[in-house]
Amino acid sequence: MSVRAYVATWAALVALAAASFGLSFLHLGGWAMPAAVAIAAAKALLVALFFMHLVRAQASVRLAGAAAVVFIAILIGLVVADVVTRDGPALVPPVDREG
């Protein structure tokens, strides 16, 4: 990859970070977290595709990268689905015992 491509990737990363920073000052309510994570995911994709060369890598390497993303999504997705559908708290604070 050319120097220009690397620098352009970096410029896009910085721009996305600035956008995320700016958005954090707005009152987005329930949309604040999804927006922040979406921008972070876009930045991660840029790093993976261009800095880590996935855009031109062999198929097996791309498969490894995609597999990691899929399994992480399953892990986080099911943990959150578990927690939000419970009646009581999932993470219980330690009980204060007497004495």
Partner: protein, 214 residues
Amino acid sequence: MTAPATPREPYATLAQQEGAARLGMWAFLASEALLFAALFALFAGARAEHPATFEEGARHMALGLGTVNTFVLLTSSLVVALALPPLGRGRRRLAIALLLGAIAMGAAFLVIKGVEYARHFREGIYPGGSGAFFSEPPEHGLRLFFTLYYLMTGLHALHVTGGMAALAWAAWRAHRGAIGPGREHPLEFVGLYWHLVDVVWIFLWPLFYLARGG
């Protein structure tokens, strides 16, 4: 000068051998990503239970320092990426200088992190939810937030340190001529590790610093 003579068994060509090494490196990176993913899953679950308190915790973070650190790591990834082409063209000194620059940025990241931790300590925020900050009344969500903060950024800082050591190793090997034109993949793999460390911070920053509730 640096290219080895023949591929090892069972590889038919050097390209095949290098491709296998690259896949192995990515398998390792995927395992590292899952290590952090387990902690991100814990964060997601805890935040789902304490959304307001987690936003309050984020408001106690040093937003400026965390943002500077984001810029430092993004730029260090650029510098590491830029070191590979000159190495392949035999411009060894330029490649080594870039690697040393990236190491310096890693050190700057750790220094800023240390300043942040010191600030938290002064406010009575210690790992495990202990410290004067949490005294009255002990808000469980706040303790969870800062415990996760220390755990995840601490683990990340360890990875930054390891990455700096790996970059230093690559710079040394390039200096010795063991990495160079025809045999660049060791530097490429060290770079992959550094970029993963950058990606982890790309997610840590918005979750701990930006999600302040607007």
